[in-house]
């Protein structure tokens, strides 16, 4: 049983967990619990839903004397992220976070945190980008940093949120990596929903994550250094190549850290990069990220019960992208459906970001499956089991038809799949007498 399954099924904890205790907590609370266990030194925050309930949880723990940390509420996300960056630079274990356009507003501070190779951990409570103002989940916010040297992870359950916060600090602070990591959590569906969670004890956590040590990069009077000078064309490319090397090494470190985690916390071994559900002998597969995994697995159970050979793959680490795992899993699959809870207007197939990444990952395979793109669940719209069945059905259809470049389908959007008048620039609403 995977950590995820345990979190949503509530089965008794494995032996290694005996020292921990069970709580019913939200995804945000679970991250806050991990921050307490990790004895994080500096937390910076600026409120925006749905990420901000982690701020409430942390301030409560500090007020109750359960946690000893500097908690700075800044005047904006930009300042908040700068505070995290500078704290990390002087040797403090730091935490930041945001959601939607708040994450965007601090973008400059986010990219410099990555280029300065500072292992700040962020929580992104995934939220639709404004406008329109909406609280619901879309993955575009966190994805905006996908090319900048941030490690990215999407969790499915509150248990995974707690576990991955521990894992994120361990990986990010590893000398071979030293990159920031953003943990993404579906707004509302996970940030504000409570799950059954096993909270481990501090002693075990401190064995898993050693103290933060920036070494000779630490900004301190005893270690006189100047950081982030103007570089220009003679130096930039070399610095980028170093970040590239760090991101490549992250794969090894994630593998080691996950194995260690499973051993220390008594979890069943599972793939560090992807959550592959009933993929053995699968002829068709659906792929998604975040809480869509919950319905994905139920849909697979139903289809398997009906005799269909279908599996679900949840991408956990998005950066580094799990190309080897996906190639191995999808090599013998006939058709694949990608469930993007994001959009990339004007991209290949006018589909989402995950589709673009998965198809690129599969390109070197001599025999590639048909890959069908879907966009679903934008702005917090529900993705139901029925939606998943509908997508799988569509995958089978385009595979049977041998379509190599299936049209991207919007699942759950109100209105027709397409409208020829609309495509020609006419607004059917106007044509039918409505105001433009």
């Amino acid at each position: 049983m995977t950590a995820t399954e345990q979190a949503t099924s509530g089965t008794p904890a494995p032996a290694g967990h005996e020292a921990g205790h069970e709580e019913i907590i939200t995804g945000c609370d679970a991250v806050a619990q991990a921050l307490r266990l990790l004895d994080v030194d500096v937390l910076a925050g600026y409120p925006i839903r749905p990420y901000d309930s982690v701020m409430s949880a942390v301030s409560k723990m500090i007020a109750n004397g359960q946690m000893d940390a500097e908690f700075i509420v800044a005047e904006s996300e930009h300042s908040q992220f700068e505070i995290g960056k500078h704290a990390s630079l002087v040797g403090a274990r730091a935490f930041i976070g945001s959601a939607g356009v708040g994450w965007m507003y601090g973008m400059e501070a986010l990219v410099v945190t990555a280029s300065l190779r500072l292992p700040v951990i962020a929580l992104v409570g995934n939220r639709a980008l404004d406008d329109p103002g909406a609280f619901g989940v879309e993955h575009n916010d966190a994805l905006m940093v996908r090319d900048t040297g941030w490690l990215l992870y999407w969790v499915e359950s509150a248990q995974e949120a707690l576990d991955t916060t521990l894992l994120a600090y361990r990986v990010a602070e590893d000398k071979r990596v030293m990159l920031p990591c953003a943990l993404s959590m579906d707004g509302a569906f996970l940030t504000h929903s409570q799950h059954i969670v096993r909270v481990p004890d501090e002693e075990r956590v401190s064995r898993f994550v050693p103290p933060y040590d920036l070494g000779d990069r630490r900004f301190h009077p005893d270690n006189p250094v100047s950081i982030a000078p103007q570089f220009n064309e003679d130096w930039v490319m070399e610095a980028r190549r170093q970040s590239d090397a760090a991101m490549r090494r992250a794969r090894t470190v994630i593998g080691e850290a996950t194995a260690d985690f499973q051993r220390l916390f008594g979890r069943e071994p599972e793939d560090p990069f992807v959550d592959a559900y009933r993929m053995e002998d699968a002829e068709y597969a659906l792929i998604g990220m975040g809480t869509v995994g919950m319905v994905g697995k139920v849909a697979v159970d139903r289809m398997r019960a009906a005799g269909k050979k279908v599996g679900f793959v949840r991408v956990k680490w998005f950066r580094p992208f799990p190309r080897p795992e996906l190639r191995a899993l999808l090599r013998n699959v006939k058709g694949v459906g990608i469930v993007d809870r994001d959009y990339s207007f004007g991209s290949s197939s006018h589909a989402g970001v995950l589709y673009t990444e998965v198809t690129a990952a599969l390109y070197p395979e001599p025999r590639r499956p048909v890959v069908a793109p879907f966009i679903a669940g934008l702005g917090g719209r529900e993705v139901s089991v029925e939606n998943m069945l509908e997508m799988e059905d569509s995958v089978e259809r385009v595979t049977a038809a041998g379509e190599l470049d299936p049209t991207c389908q919007w699942i759950g959007v109100r209105g027709p799949a397409t409208d020829p008048r609309y495509e020609q620039g006419e607004n059917p609403r106007t044509a039918e007498g409505g105001a433009r």
Partner: protein
């Protein structure tokens, strides 16, 4: 039963912690029966705003797949209990502007129980609660709405009394024994046990047949498809002097301003301070109130310079949102009788109501 849910409908922000405790503890108690569960929050407007109707759900299941499905929905299905923390909410909830004012029992499962904390009788409440096409139960837990602080929790026992009542009306979902076992494992176990038993024993349930109750006027708001919407996120503005026909705001209200027009000095202050443009001028210079748009903030009553002219009165004693100046114009004595009647039913005006 493989999965069932309890809906706690409450008012933000002063009941948010209350709803949080109930939903969490119900799941913890169900763990004593080897069940699994989780909780879901649901709101459109912010539950950090005063009066906003909002919901929290406990989802309790026997198996992982059932739970997973419910945890990814806006609102879980098979709601076997809707527990209402404030009886003025029985008039309907509208924290989801784009759905209109929805009946309090809209998603109640057939045969389920609407549990209301109230001092009113079943007959009085059924004048407010819409009928359903199936039979259901109305349960009343005697009590006043419990309000805590923004961060401070009002530990008055309402949480455990409500849980005790839930175990009485939905013992299959979570039993009193499990609640007692869970309470015994925490602080103040004996006090909690007493409150659980009190809630369990004092709740009164009344079967309600299909078709019994107030008229159900709810019509879901029609939402256009993507080719039928204006581009660029443009929507029509509400014309000056009119109000949004789809977003009423009145379900946020626990009390409404009632005007003694005879005392009015026509100063216009109420009109000036009202954040929702509820005050409509009458030809003689009074200000009538468009109750459909009134959120019950009380700033008009607070700002009115004449003592006893605008008073805030318990919302539950009113059954209509029609403006009242017409009654006054028709017959001043009749209006004064109506006003006195409402005040008497409500036990007088609510003192010190407004923004401080």
């Amino acid at each position: 039963m493989s999965v069932g849910a309890v809906d706690i409908t409450y008012r933000g922000i002063f009941q948010k912690n209350l709803a949080g405790v109930i939903t969490k503890e119900l799941v913890k108690a169900a763990r004593h029966e080897d069940k699994i569960g989780g909780t879901v929050q649901r709101y459109g407007d912010s539950p950090e705003r005063n009066g906003i109707p909002a919901k929290q759900f406990s989802v309790i299941a026997d198996d992982a797949d059932s739970l997973r499905v419910e945890m990814t929905k806006y609102e879980p299905s098979n709601v076997v209990v809707v527990a209402v923390m404030d009886d003025t909410l029985t008039k309907g909830v509208e924290s989801w502007a784009w759905y209109g004012v929805r009946p309090i029992n809209l998603n109640l499962a057939p045969g389920g129980t609407l549990l209301v904390i109230s001092r009113r009788s079943a007959e009085e409440l059924l004048e407010l609660i819409p009928r359903r096409e199936y039979a259901w139960n109305l349960a009343i837990l005697p009590g006043e709405p419990s309000f805590g602080g923004l961060w401070v929790y009002n530990d008055d026992g309402t949480d455990y009394r409500t849980m005790g009542a839930v175990s009485r009306v939905a013992g299959d979902l979570v039993s009193l024994d499990s609640l007692l076992a869970q309470a015994a494992s925490g602080q103040d176990g004996e006090l909690r046990a007493e409150q659980l038993r009190e809630g369990h024993d004092s709740v009164r349930a009344y079967p309600v047949d299909a078709g019994v109750g107030a008229e159900d006027t709810y019509e879901p708001v029609e939402m256009p498809g993507w080719t039928q919407m204006r581009e660029g996120l443009v929507i029509p503005a509400v014309p000056v002097g009119e109000t949004n026909p789809l977003f009423k705001k009145y379900t946020t209200r626990t009390a409404r301003p009632l005007v003694k027009f005879d005392a009015c000095v026509k100063c216009q202050i109420c009109y000036t301070v009202c954040p929702d443009e509820c005050f409509i001028p009458t030809p003689e210079g009074h200000w009538d109130i468009r109750y459909e748009s009134c959120c019950g903030c009380g700033i008009c009553a607070q700002s009115c310079p004449v003592t006893g002219c605008i008073e805030m009165v318990d919302e539950a004693v009113f059954d209509s949102n029609e403006p009242l100046h017409g009654v006054y114009e028709n017959n001043r004595e009749e209006y004064e009788e109506l006003r006195q009647d409402k005040l008497a039913k409500a036990g007088g005006p609510i003192p010190h109501y407004g923004i401080f």
